[in-house]
Symmetry: C2
Subunit: 543 residues, 2 copies
């Protein structure tokens, strides 16, 4: 499915021993598509044809309203589940977004929840009956968790990722685990187990990565919301490319306890965070509230006990937004610049104070974060690849060459990198305080969704990972329009990387229909304010 | 003064060029002793002889009451200042606790505060008129900050340590900066600029370190409270040895912005924190409340916006305390064991639930934290020493040999160390939650205050640095009594380090009068609860 399985392995005999397992995994995934939810091939992608009218209404209802309707008895968990099970199946048939489907378990869970509600008149928790998708690398008790590495294709995890367990205890229904790229370090989706995932808006494009499947399934309404992770853009890029909301929270608010990775030890220079993708800012808020109301810090001593604060949605006139049109390293392409200018005009017209943000230190920050990624000389990643002989994919090669590549860093270099990071953390915050800027609005990536397996530059997202400022990505409602978003062929790139990225947007036709999304950033730990501001900014811009 | 200036330098010519500056620094310190506050030599240590009766009452009044009395007009800032200026002078004459004295500036500041109060009827802030001492390495605008390194003896800092500035804005009066050891990495006090500081309870003993001068001056009532720092025990050890309260808060609550160090870059494995020493738990609470009410996170993006919560002092019957009698590496000496048992009995009799804490992982944690200290192969420390040719002191040599010593660590090793740290963070918290233990009561050091320049083992404090669990050290009211605290000569040490440390307490007479202090530890970020519990535990134990 969506082929492109690479056979370029240095150890064909070793890898061959894994192939039967990989084939079996793919067959199991295929078998996970239940006939009753399946769309006949000729109808793809006309999903609405297999959904009943009430089901179409369900998938169009935001999660925060669905939980109310289930809690009031207006809808059952099974009704809600079936609607999303069908769209999830269609999403997978269309984009190859799933790594594991277990619809029968999801249905059983929904039935049990309905039974509980019928018996007690109560819900089990604030997410009672809500279908939620999960990126594959979150440990799922009793199921294989491989993190897109063939070597772990038999790795049955005997514990729950704590954040997933919190959702489960709150009443969530699980039925699909979604795809991610090899090493997790692509802003695309390819891996040797289930192959490429495609963008639901235009299947010639990538859904982004590494939470590739989450971007695709949430955009296609195959789940109410989904759980991704982000150390360089892995929530925000798929959210942007697929046209949904995605939050990269400040570090150490949501638990990463029991997550499968190929990283060495514990990385403090840039911290991988977990976060939600959803179709509304209100659902992002719901996810965070439920996750933090459970006090996960009582079970994970690496977390900070910061409850989710109930802050008001700000009035337009009370916020000041600075727009970064260019990070000074790679200039955004015409559709993104159009989106930024469009947003600026709409915001100004609504009473938001809009100023321009002068970028600084981006190149240094991005170089530093790339060194953080590879400070262990990528040993853990390379070991995981070599242990099965699986082919090393193109974007994996690119990621492994980041920073110092095979040389890695000494502790001294890492500490100097951390000092540089803190210097910019201070300077960015000081600049925001000095200007009275509440939020920074910027691109999520240089362009709209890219062609498959092409992206090399992540600076628009990874800048905020190293600074650890929280962001919400949201759709502007605009889509790439080749007639309007004409490539600027006269632009003289400032560097090789800019030339490479800028030239990817050479033929605008190829990007037709790709969503134009933007990224809103706030101060560290003020995630609540960013989510609430993203709600109002989105309302204004997309109106 | 307290001699022991070592002349063992490898570069006598280079060092000789600094000697005039060092001599001038010492002369300036000596001149800082104003005659009007000075105790005639024959009266040392009978400080009460030069204080008036009202002044004696002032130095016996806790800070939280002094600020009320000043705010109500019952006392003036100048009255309060003069009382503490006299005792500070005596403290310095007795223990050599100061690195810099600027009594005239302190008096001027107190006068200005009185004038402001007279004119407006208001205080400038919640610490209006409160005399506070500062460890020397906190940047003080316009003054030399050298961090006990001769190379920086001309280093006039042009900014304020942010936490110091917060205290200043709240109305604090500064007049003395206190001594610290070379490299900051001794649990003692020696340096080549002002030499050894002594323990006010017994001048044959060390006041501990590295916040040596703070321990001595606060114990002698030369300031209401003082500001120390701690990456391995540097607040808690002087607090314990001198018999006062000391808080090592959880990391990233108090700002370390603008502090002078000889460390490489930013260390995330074990984080140096700043914290208060004082004579009451209520004053610790006051310090923290004022520091965090100022929202320092708005000026320091490395901080977490956790306001200081006003939690109630718990009832004895509502807390469960686990006592760690031995960390499994170095057994505490008889006075410390007596203190622990005494505390256990008193607590039980008052209704506190008391259980025993089984130590685990201490050796591994201490080895790891020692590697964090030296992960840069101590390059920054060695460079700072070599640049002036100053003699390398004995305990500096000991500290520089910690962990991998000259070899340092790779980023990979540091990350594996961080993973081990997080494993134990989780396990310690899980164990506390499982047992329902609110606090752990343990020794602060193997023994009571040690002889000068002898301590090699810090595990009882550094364990909590690497775990980052907050602690309050408090005096039990007991003192070392040679008649009771007889050395256990039959004990068979489990290791060389235990043998070394245990044998330091061979002749009990030498330790007569040294305070027996204990350390109370709580869960990460729950500093407020630890401070409030320390208040009640201290009240019970010292009653």
């Amino acid at each position: 499915m969506y082929g492109r399985y690479v056979n370029d392995t240095e150890n064909p005999e070793l890898y061959a021993t894994f192939m039967p397992k990989v084939e079996a995994y793919r067959a199991k995934l295929k078998a996970g598509i239940l006939d009753e939810y399946k769309l006949p091939d000729e109808l793809v992608p006309k999903a609405e044809k297999i959904l009943t009218k009430p089901e179409l209404a369900i998938i169009d209802t935001p999660g925060y309203q669905l939980v109310e309707k289930i809690a009031s008895g207006e809808l059952t968990s099974v009704e809600v589940f079936k609607a999303f099970a069908k769209t999830a199946t269609v999403a997978h048939q269309t984009t190859n977004c799933a790594m594991e489907l277990f619809m029968d378990e999801g249905l059983k869970r929904a039935e049990e929840l309905d039974e509980y509600y019928k018996k007690t008149g109560k819900t089990v928790g604030p997410l009672h009956g809500l279908p939620i998708s999960l990126k594959e690398h979150y440990n799922y008790k009793g199921k294989v968790t491989h993190c897109a590495n063939v070597i772990r294709i038999d790795n049955v995890t005997d514990n729950w990722c704590l954040t997933v367990e919190v959702l489960l205890n709150a009443g969530a229904v699980f039925y699909v685990r979604t795809t991610e790229p090899q090493t997790l370090m692509h802003l695309c989706s390819n891996n040797n187990i289930t192959g490429l995932c495609l963008n639901p808006n235009n299947t010639a494009l990538t859904p982004g990565g590494s939470s590739s499947g989450e971007g695709a399934i949430v955009a296609m309404k195959g789940s109410v919301m989904g759980l991704g992770s982000d150390i360089g853009g892995s929530i925000r890029c798929p959210a942007a490319f697929c046209g949904v909301f995605g939050l990269r929270p400040t570090q150490k608010r949501l638990s990463m306890k029991n997550v499968t990775f190929s990283f060495t030890g514990v990385e403090e220079g840039v911290v991988c965070v977990l976060g939600p993708l959803a179709r509304t800012a209100q659902d992002i808020d719901l996810f965070m509230k439920v996750s933090l109301d459970a006090k996960p810090w009582e079970r994970d001593a690496t977390l900070i006990p910061l409850p989710w604060r109930d802050v008001p949605v700000p009035a337009a006139k009370d916020i000041k937004v600075a727009i970064m049109y260019d990070d000074g390293v790679v200039k955004p392409t015409p559709p993104i610049l159009r989106g930024l200018k469009y947003a600026a005009e709409k915001l100004k017209a609504s009473g938001v104070t809009v100023v321009e943000w002068e970028p600084f230190g981006v190149k240094e920050c991005v170089e530093t974060v790339n060194c953080f990624y590879s400070a262990d000389a990528n040993k853990a990643q390379k070991d995981a690849l070599a242990a099965s002989g699986e082919p090393v994919l193109e974007l994996t090669k690119n990621a492994l060459a980041f920073g110092r590549g095979d040389d890695g860093w000494s502790a001294t270099e890492e500490r100097l990198g951390q000092a540089l990071r803190d210097k910019y953390r201070m300077e960015y915050q000081d600049k925001m305080m000095e200007l009275g800027v509440d939020f920074i609005l910027s691109p999520t990536y240089v362009s709209v969704a890219a062609k498959l397996e092409t992206i090399h530059y992540w600076g628009y997202t990874s800048l905020w990972n190293v600074l650890d400022f929280p962001n919400v990505v949201f759709p502007t409602g605009l889509k790439c329009d080749p007639a309007v978003d004409v490539p600027d062929s006269g632009y003289a790139p400032r560097s090789d990387i800019e030339k490479y990225e800028y030239e990817l947007y050479k033929d605008a036709k190829e990007f037709k229909g790709a969503p134009i999304s933007l990224q809103l950033t706030g101060r560290r730990w003020f995630d609540e304010e960013v989510v609430k501001a993203a709600q109002v900014v989105h309302e204004i811009v997309s109106a």
